[in-house]
Amino acid sequence: MTPLLRLRDITKSFGAVRALRGVSFELQPGEVHALLGENGAGKSTLIKVITGAHAPDGGTLEVGAETLSRLTPREAHRLGIACIYQQPALFPDLTVAENIALRLETPRATRLVHPRAQIEKAQQLLARIGADLAPEREVRSLSMPEQQLVEIACALGSGARIVIMDEPTASLTQKEQHLLFAVVRDLRAQGIGVIYISHRLEEIFALADRVTVLRDGESVGTNPIDDINESSLIAMMVGREVAQIYPPPESAPGEVALLLQNLGCAASGILDVSLEVRAGEIVGLAGLVGAGRTELARILFGLTPADTGEIRLAGEPVRITSPREAIAHGIAYVPEDRRRHGVILEMPIAQNMTMAVHSRVFPGGWLRSGTETALAKEYIASLGIKTAGPEAPGGSLSGGNQQKVSVARWLATRPRMLILDEPTQGVDVGAKSELHRIIRRLAADGLAVLMISSDLPEVLGMSDRIVVMRGGTIAATLPGGSEASTVMAAALGQRAA
């Protein structure tokens, strides 16, 4: 049987980062092919190459009878490739039928709209996937899985032969998942090829015919689902580690700095989290994207206050309802995505560093530039920030140095508890190990550090203890130096192997 899709040796780099290093992949008609890998293994990049969002640097794509070196989104659409994303991209103010019609019709401003025909077409497509949805409903009023059904109907209507589903069940309830699974099986029966991405192993075993594991931009292997079990999949995902030297702990942990007891927040999906972080200790918070790690950090920083449970700082119970209060309690939060929420690019780095400490550095609200410059110079020297000087704008620095500015801002608050969210994401290797040394030194100076990271070797190498989150709660607490496969198994929700 000729495959629907065959990728050969696809490579793709972003600057110095090699996202895909020669990936080959194949999809048969009537097959559900699961794609699995850690965060950053290259799954999203591969999908974007297939949908035409990224042009590969090398390799070929064979779709049906055509062999191409790259696709554009328009060609991908023409060749019958459709992607259903986690967050459906529909127009909320239009009806189901209008949304479907917009996708199917060639965009031409002068085309007449035929509401009757639109509704009939929508009914027909929705019936094909067994979806019980009125085409006149506004998309705004649909639940998440109903919106996904509309997306699938669009895909079918445009004659899609290849349907990509990117973590489709991430925001679905159990019941809704079963509805979706039935639709996926239905697609398979119609001879459509489905590329199914999910972190949930039980889904993969329930749905997939074959599974391909990606790691560090390479395909580790493709196996029929019957030839493989959960442990071997995890072993494939984790692989052997790249040797990298992490600074060793310098002192024994001290008193408990932060204690969480049964902390929960309905709005951010966190339930029943209990953990402790001691002074001088680095606790690594591992888990997959969406496990609730950033949400937990946001609770601790007062951005989405907890509604159940207790937070104790140095033994004292506290309520934290705003970042201001969190700062007053000695909590510092270096957020993920420093370009958006960490460093203000047009502001000089000196001003960036004093942003959280105005009342301390400038009593009376009067900014003395001498004090500010002195403080900036101190951190530029102690963190080794490479810059033209305190007056250089934040945007002039490299990623790693911006991250150091972000860290400096929080060190200036003299915190007791430092929360780092993906501290080395997107920084180069040199800056990364420098940041690791800085974090270790801060812990040695008595700071309690909670480090969220999706970089598994980093979590394993840096942490004195590893807390694994899954589905908004703590899945496991592991000692430092645990095996990667143990951490990954806990993050995926597998019972201890």
């Binding site: 920083f301 958006r340 929420h341 203000i344 942003m355 959280a356 400038f362």
Partner: protein
Amino acid sequence: MKRYARELSVLGALVLILAVLAVAAPSFFQLDPLRSHFTREVPTLLVACGAALVIICRQIDISVGSQFGVCGVVTGLLAGAHVPLPLCALASIAAGAAMGAINGALVAGLRLPSIVVTLATMVIWREGLRLAQQGQFINLPADAVWFGLPLATGQTVELVAALGILAALTWASTRLTAGRYIYAVGSDAEAARLAGISPTRVTFGVFVLMGALAGLAALANAVQSPQVDPKSGTGLELKAIAAAVVGGVAVTGGRGRLWGVLCGLLLLVTINPALTYLHVAAYWEKAIQGAIILLAVVADGWRPRSA
């Protein structure tokens, strides 16, 4: 020098116009008419400072012209009832601040878009004033006009006071934490929030300050003539925003200097008398002002991101 490229190029354009005038129409440089002309623009300068701060905070306030009108009537009525002028001033500022607080509560508190909120309050204040005042002018007692001083002295006092206020606001915007917060919130409200700054409070405060400055400006305007026109301030918001934009305040928020606003305003208001003295039809004034504003926005678009 590169940091002040915008302000300096605006000043350069101003100097160029003055140089042309010095050669072609030296009679332009006479103290009394110049002083009168620039004193008339003092209210605009005060409002433009407020507008600049609002824009730096990545908001907009188009209700200032109406606020200005209401405050002018408040001043006129109180002064007409022989309330001492300092008390009139306080009342005018308080009235402006109160109207600013309403804008601020709606924009910062309820997170409504400022363009719509201030469009609504602009219409409400203006039409409310028309209903209450029926277009009637208010007579000021003689001792209130120019603070009871001779014309030339009164004008000088007002000019000096306005420059003093500009200097104070410039200092405050760069040397006080409150000023720094405005820039931080305008650059990236979420980053500011994560740094413990409350974007809600800062935004509210900026609107209150805007209103207070509109009140002060209304007073500065009221004392310039023996009658207060309840329609005064119509279109003032556009002039103020134009001065801020020409003076280098980025409409995307987070960037701009208050002394630059003075440069922008000076350039815009020198065009009219310059045209008169150069015997060019004054109809060209608005077209040239429009061209300058467009040029300023284009220059902003070309400015490299890292500047």
